[in-house]
Structures are given as C-alpha cells and as structure tokens.
C-alpha cells in the first residue's frame, strides 16, 4: 500500500481548473451540492486569486457575525477555512474554487492580508520539510531492512501456524464467529509490519459471513493465502519479478522514487476511467490509463484518508504525452512521471481487444501476479444485457459475465442496446465496467 508515498507527480500548477476538476475534490455528493450553491457571487466578498503563490481566497458570509475566511493553496491543493465543518475541503472552499473556475474571481498580484498568513506558514513548513536533505546512510538502511525482514518473518510464521490450525480444527462455525478472532490476528500482523497480510485476514470474516456456499469461498481465500505464505518462505529463490509481487502482497512498502526510477514508458496516455472506493478508513482512487501506441492498460492508484481530497491530476476524458513508470511488485499499477505536454481532450476511441482475448489477458496477468483481483482492460465492441437479475456482455461469438454484485444500469443506458467499447476491470468473477466509449464519446459509469 502506498500510504507512505510522497507526491507521485510533480506538475506545474494548472492556470485554471475546470468545474469537473473542482468537483472531483468534493468528499461527497452533498458537498458538491452545497459547493454549487456557494458558487454564486452573493455570499462572497474580497475574493482574489494570485499566480505566485498560486492561491485563491475570499470571505464567505456564514451563520456567524464574522464571515468565514477561505483560502486555497492551488499547488497542494490545500485548504483553509474558518468554518466549523469537518468536511474536507468544506463547501466554502469548493464554492470559491467553482467561482474561480467560472472566471468570477479577480486576479491579484499578491494574496490579501487574511490569506497571506496561512499561505506563508504553509510555505515555511514546506521549506522546513524539504531542507534536511535525506542523507541516506546505506549501512543504516540495510540494518532497517534487516530488522523489518525479521519482524515480517515472525509474523508470517505465526500466520502459517494459525492458518494450519484453522484447517486442522475445521472451518465449521466460522460463518458465525464474527470479526473479533480475525481482528486479533490482523493486529498481530500490523505489529509485524505486514499490513498486506493484515488486509487479507480482515477480508476473511466477510467471506465467511457471505451466506450459501461460504465454506468453499473461505477455503479458496485461505488457499490463496497459503500460496502467498509458502511463496514468502522461499522469496529469495523466486525470480526478482515474482519476489517483488510477493513482497507487495505481504505489505512491504514501495517508495515513489523507486517506482520513478524504473524505466519510463513514454506514450500518449488516455485517461479512460476513475473509480473511488473506501478501504477501511482510506479512500482509494483507481484511474485507468490506456497507451495509444503501446495499447497497454494500467491503473494509477492513489489513497487519501477519508474526507481528504484524492488526487485530481488525471482528468477522465483527456490524454497526455507523458512518461509512465510501473511498480516493481505490481506491473499493472503505474505512476505518471514527466509530462511532456499539457493534457488535451481525447477524441478517438481506444484500441480494444475482443472479448475472446480476455481469457488470455487474464491468465497472462495471473502468471505475473497470481493474487491479482483487477486487471484493467479495454474490450469490444460488446453489447450489455440483463434479465433483471443476471448481467452479461456479448459480442455474438463470446459471452462473459459481469462481475458479481455489479449492476451496470448506467452502462446499459449509455449503450442504448448498441455495441460499445468497454473500459473495465477483469476480476475473478467477471468484468467490472468502469466506462464506455459510445457514439457520444466517452461515458463515465
């Protein structure tokens, strides 16, 4: 997991944002609505925007006597508002940005006094953080790595014992055991610096409680965990590629600079889809990139604590000439490095593989990462169909199921019953639709 990673991309501050980019910052739909309401000149006074520092500020009339002081540092982006809202960014920051993106905030050569204080303190803090140049002492680093490896090994040994005991004692009753027994095991793994394994264990109780057929599914999960633990025992004998994959699933962190140090793939990358989800207390954003020349499909995954804005540097529907680097332990996950040009709207559909090809794509992905659960693909043209309960995708020759639990009504509406090019994630249970290229262009789902 990449929580400890620094900023993935260093980009120039965009001169203006579109309303879509602003709204992508909103923590929830209610904030979008509240922000839109505040995107009228009515409540605002003393607004301004400057290029250096890149910031927008204003005073918002609120429920108190004094107006709220709202300041946005566009480079971060970072937000400051004197309102009591615990949403982040708050509706005032969103409203101010919308106003700004509509061109209704006057430019200024320097920030207003009320904004300058906070912006300066931010700048000072950033400087402080940057100044003690990280002196990497190779000896100390190696010692840290060794200590970590020892702790992980201890955690893995405990988990192997626990796993063996589960099967020896029998799984019967696990569907009624609740979360607690698993939570203790997961906590031990977090202590052992194996957060990846902790995540796997935390998923188990919901599998056990998944109703009819739970035992088979739980045994499946335990078996895949068994494979991971066995692989970790022999991690030094594996190919470097597979070893990296195993380490990632166990929870060794990957530093952004290590990713950016891998060879770059330069291409015109189309941003095809973006899907957000919550994993525990973390918001996860998965952005689908498709290379025009390489026809590669990659996922840019970013994390943020709940209620904090997720990365908005990749706008769905745009394409950009850029260097992309893949994770050593996760060759389908990417970071955007150097950008060679500003993004432009994508106007032509991406190259798609036939439905019949997907089995090969999937097995190739599993060869590299046997635990993979989502492989970005572009396929089509396909027709989506449903009988009200079951969903399928077909191109006449091949028919595949839609991923379990997905009810892609928006895909069905977007297609209107006509074949579309589908942007999706291949999962163990079927295709999870993310976007579609229809006669109207790209449609987000």
């Amino acid at each position: 997991m990449g929580v400890s990673e620094g900023p993935a991309t260093v980009t120039a501050v965009p001169m203006t944002w579109t309303a879509e980019q602003v709204l992508a910052l909103a923590p929830d739909a209610a904030s979008v609505a509240a922000g839109r309401k505040l995107a009228a000149p009515g409540p605002w006074t003393q607004t301004g925007a400057s290029d250096s520092p890149a910031a927008v500020w204003g005073l918002a009339a609120g429920s108190g006597k004094n107006p709220y002081v709202t300041v946005v540092d566009l480079a971060g982006p970072a937000f400051s508002c004197s309102c009591p809202s615990r949403k982040f960014p708050c509706k005032h920051a969103l409203g101010l940005l919308l106003l700004w993106s509509a061109g209704a905030v006057p430019g200024a050569s320097e920030p207003a006094e009320f904004a300058a204080t906070w912006l300066e303190s931010r700048a000072a803090r950033a400087e402080k953080a940057a100044s003690p140049a990280r002196t990497t002492d190779p000896a100390a680093a190696a010692q840290r790595a060794e200590r970590r490896a020892d702790r992980v090994a201890g955690g893995v040994a405990d988990l192997r014992r626990w796993l063996r005991d589960q099967v020896a004692a029998g799984l019967a009753g696990a569907d009624r055991a609740g979360y607690r027994p698993y939570e203790q095991v997961a906590a031990r793994l977090v202590d052992a610096q194996a957060p990846g394994l902790a995540d796997v264990v935390r998923r188990l109780p919901s599998v056990a409680a998944s109703g009819e057929g739970w035992a088979g599914r739980l045994l499946d999960e335990l078996a895949m965990l068994h494979v991971l633990l066995e692989a970790h025992e022999r991690v030094d004998d594996l190919t470097p590629e597979l070893a990296a994959v195993v380490r990632r699933h166990v929870g060794y962190p990957t530093k952004a600079e290590d990713v950016l140090a891998t060879p770059a793939v330069r291409d015109t990358w189309v941003v095809l889809a973006q899907s957000d989800s919550l994993e525990g207390r973390l918001a996860v954003r998965r952005v689908h990139l498709h290379g025009r020349a390489t026809a590669r499909n990659l996922a840019v995954v970013s994390f943020a604590p709940a209620n904090q804005p997720l990365d908005t540097s990749l706008l769905v529907g745009s394409e950009l000439d850029a260097d992309v680097h893949t994770y050593p332990g996760d060759p389908l996950r990417a970071l955007v490095g150097t950008r060679h040009a500003d993004p432009v709207p994508a106007t032509t559909p991406p190259a798609a593989v036939e439905l019949g090809e997907l089995a090969r794509v999937w097995s190739a992905a599993l060869e590299v990462d046997p635990w993979a659960f989502a492989v970005p693909v572009v396929t089509g043209p396909v027709t989506v169909g449903t009988d009200g309960g079951r969903w399928w995708l077909t191109d006449g020759a091949v028919t595949v199921p839609v991923a379990a639990g997905a009810q892609p009504w928006s895909l069905l509406v977007a297609s209107g019953g006509d074949p579309v090019v589908l942007v999706a994630d291949q999962t163990p249970t079927g295709l999870a639709p993310r976007a579609a290229w229809t006669s109207d262009g790209l449609v987000r789902l």
Binding site: A29, V32, A172, W392, G416, P428
Partner: protein, 516 residues
Amino acid sequence: MSADLTTAALLGTDRNPGPHPVGDELLAAALSRLPAREDPATALLDVAALAAVARRASTSGTEAGTVRAPAPTETRQLCAPAAAARLRGLLAAGKESWDLLELWLATAAGNGLRVPPGVLVPLLDAAAAAGDRDGLRTAALAVSGERGRWITPQNPAWHGLVAAPRPGVDAIVTDDDPTWVHGTADERAAWLSAARSLDPAGARSLVAGAWAKANANERATFARALEVGVTPDDEELLASALSDRSVAVRTAAVRTLAHLPSSAFVRHCTDRALACVTVSRTLLREHLVMELPEPEKGDPFAAPYSSPKAVAVTQMLGLPAGVGAKADLLTRLVEVVPLSAWTAHLGKEPRTLVQLAIAANARPLLQGWAVATEREHDAAWAHALLVLVGARSISADLARILPPEAQLDVFRATVSAAPAGYEGHPAVAAYLAQLPAPWTDDLTAQVATWVGGQPSEKSWTPIHTSEQLGLAAPPTARSESVIRAAAARAAENVSRALTRAADAVHQRRTIIEELT
C-alpha cells in the same frame, strides 16, 4: 472448490486426516511435483491451493439471454452541457432540491429538450423516490427521451414511473366491463369518473341500475362521480339520494346537486336561505339582519349539532337549545345557494355583503359563501372574503381563485389582520402557500419587506416564508435584487434566510436561461 475438499475443511483434518483426492488429472500431476507433506492440514491446503489457482485462472463464459432491440433514435434536442451539469448538481443535492429539480425538468420538458444518457440513472432514481410528485415524475420521463422509455421497463425499481394505466373505458359504457365488475373500490371510482366524462347518460343508467344493491360507501362514490358533467337529467337520481339512510350519501348528493342551480332542491334551499337575510337601514347605516331557519322534515344535511359536545357548548354559552343547530342548518343552506342569488336578492356587491355580514357577526353566511365561492370559482367573492375575513378564518384554498392583481391586496389584509407576533405567521404562510407561482412583482417586494422586518429570534416562520419567496418570486434579476436589498436591511437570522431566497431566485433564473 470441490465439495469433497470443502467438506473435509469444514470437518477439520484432526478428525479426517485424508488423504484428499484431487479429482483432476492436470491438478494431480501438478500435486505430484510438490514436496510431500507430513502434516495433513498443510497437505489439504496444498490441494486446495492448486484448485483455487486453477479456478481463478479459468475465466468462465456464460449464456446470453434475450436482448432488447436497441433504443430508437432520439427526436428531442439535447440540453446544453451547462444545463446538464446543473441537473447533476440538483440530483446530487437530494430531497431538499426537489422543488428546483421539478422546475428544471418541467422547463426542459416544455422546451422539448432531453437530457444526456449519462444522467438518466440518477434522474430515474430521483423520480422513483419522488413518486408522489406527479409533475416531477412526468417531466422526468419526458426529458429522458427514447432512451428513458427504453430503459425504464428493464429495471424493476423504475416500473412505478410509468403511470398506472387509467382504467380503460370503451366508447360505449356497459355494465360488464371487467373493472366495473371486479375492480377495487378505488378502481371502480376512477373507472366510473372516466365513463361518466365519456358517456354521461350511459354512466348514469349504470349507477341507477347498481344503486339498490350497492353499500353506503359505493352509493356515496356514485353520487360524487355524477359531479363530472352533471346535467338536469341527473336530478331525479340525485334527488332520490337525498333521502338515503346514510349521511355520507346524502352529503355527496347535496354537493353534486349544488352544481344544478335549476334543481328543485337548490331552488328550495335558496328560498329558505334568502328568507333569513335582509338588509335594513337605520339612520345613515345599513345593517344586515339574519334570522335562523326552521328545520324541515326531510332535510338531508348532517346533524353535527346533535353531538354531545355541540350540545354542551350551546348550554355553556347560555343559548337557547337548538340555536347551534339552526345556525348550522343556515350554513348548510347557504353553501348550496348560487352566489348570484345573493347579489340579486340584496342588491349589493360581494364586498359590501361580506362587510355587512362581518358587522352582523353572521358566521353562517361567511362560511357558506366560502364553500359556494370554491364551487363557483368566483374571483370577486374570493377577493372579498379573503381580504375582509382573512385566509385563516375562511379557507386558504380560495387563494387559488384570486386574480393576480388581488394577491397583494389580500396579503396586506392578511398581515394586518394576523395577530401580532409569531402567532400570525401561519395564516400568512398558509395564504402564500396557495398562491400560484410566480407571484406578482408587487407581492414579491411586499413579502420581502415584511419578512425583512421580522425580529431575528429563533423561529421557523420567517425562514419558512423566505423559502416560499425563493420558490415563488418571479425568476427575474429584479426580484432577486429586491430580495437582496431586503436581506441587507434585515436582522441577522432573517437576513440569511432572505439571502438564501435570493440565491434560489438566482438559480431558478439560471435554470431557465440555460434551458432556453
């Protein structure tokens, strides 16, 4: 996962150490290449792992079901991107934005526009959630275009959006129609109304034929249904219902007969009511004199005066027994009398008559006139009653009959008649709620000023009235600036509410502009 292996895992290898067969040649071959395990649990996990990896790697196909023919080509024009973006915002805001959402949808529907397919799912979900808002639902279906009509039947959650078909009535009304024979009470009532507007005579003879066997509820339904397109030909049937055993049937028959001024019943009621009221002149002033009518055998009216509570009140007030009953009887009679009979009989305009009735404290007249005014949709009477008696004491529903130029007049009267402080606000709010939007500019300015002058205490009323203002003021720059000006002068709490109202007006104006 194979059933045998799952069973073994459920049971535990402590009880059933195995070995566990793989059951697949390829997997067995793979297993033979793994090191042998002494621990049965680990051995079982090995077998399970091989099966799990193999199962994950095999993407399975599935059967395609029948696919609906693609949606027809759209005929309506697509709305502008900015308008679509605003619609998304309104949908995201949920319930609190339904008023504005309805405005958006109705405006788009009226301008012959449709929405992009990408917004259909949240739109249809919202329309399904706002099921009781017919205007919103119909407009949502209209703007969803061919694509909307194509998708709606496919999702069970959206089936309710397509209005339940009205009970079909053939050109010739017959008594063997399935709805009429087998329908529920509501379905029969709806069918009968439809039948009545199509074939009045046929529906009447149907009712007449079914009358004897019908229960009281059904007879009341019949009497009400005849109100649709009532003609003198219906009088005989309705007159016979006046002596029905059930008071509900009699009341329904009275209500329907009131639409027939030429009927014997209405003429008799008119004679009795007019006889009770005279205008006399003493010195320079005119007085209205009201006497109370005597009950007659066969009066069809309900008798609330016989309730123990009514009797107790009469006694408490020290009135002779039967006064309450007679006053009530007069109210019932006046309700039936055509309004024109009063102006003709007393030779006065509605406004003068209402003034005289108020001076004489003739409540039965005022109440009866209000009911007759609603029936006849008479603007002059509605204006007189609302201005002089007030929306709260009469019926706020009359506000719907008011001509636009009278809205402000009644508002002023309602405000000045309302008790001081917050007790008066509900009367104002009830009146404003009935006025059709948009209000006139004059009324908008007056309401903004009135709300702006309210003290800033914790009270919902100025806030509630501000909400009404935001939704009903004309969506123009002028009314927006009038409301903002009022907000600037108002106390803190109220000022915020007025600012929100101005923002709502702004948003309504933008919605309309973006859709034009």
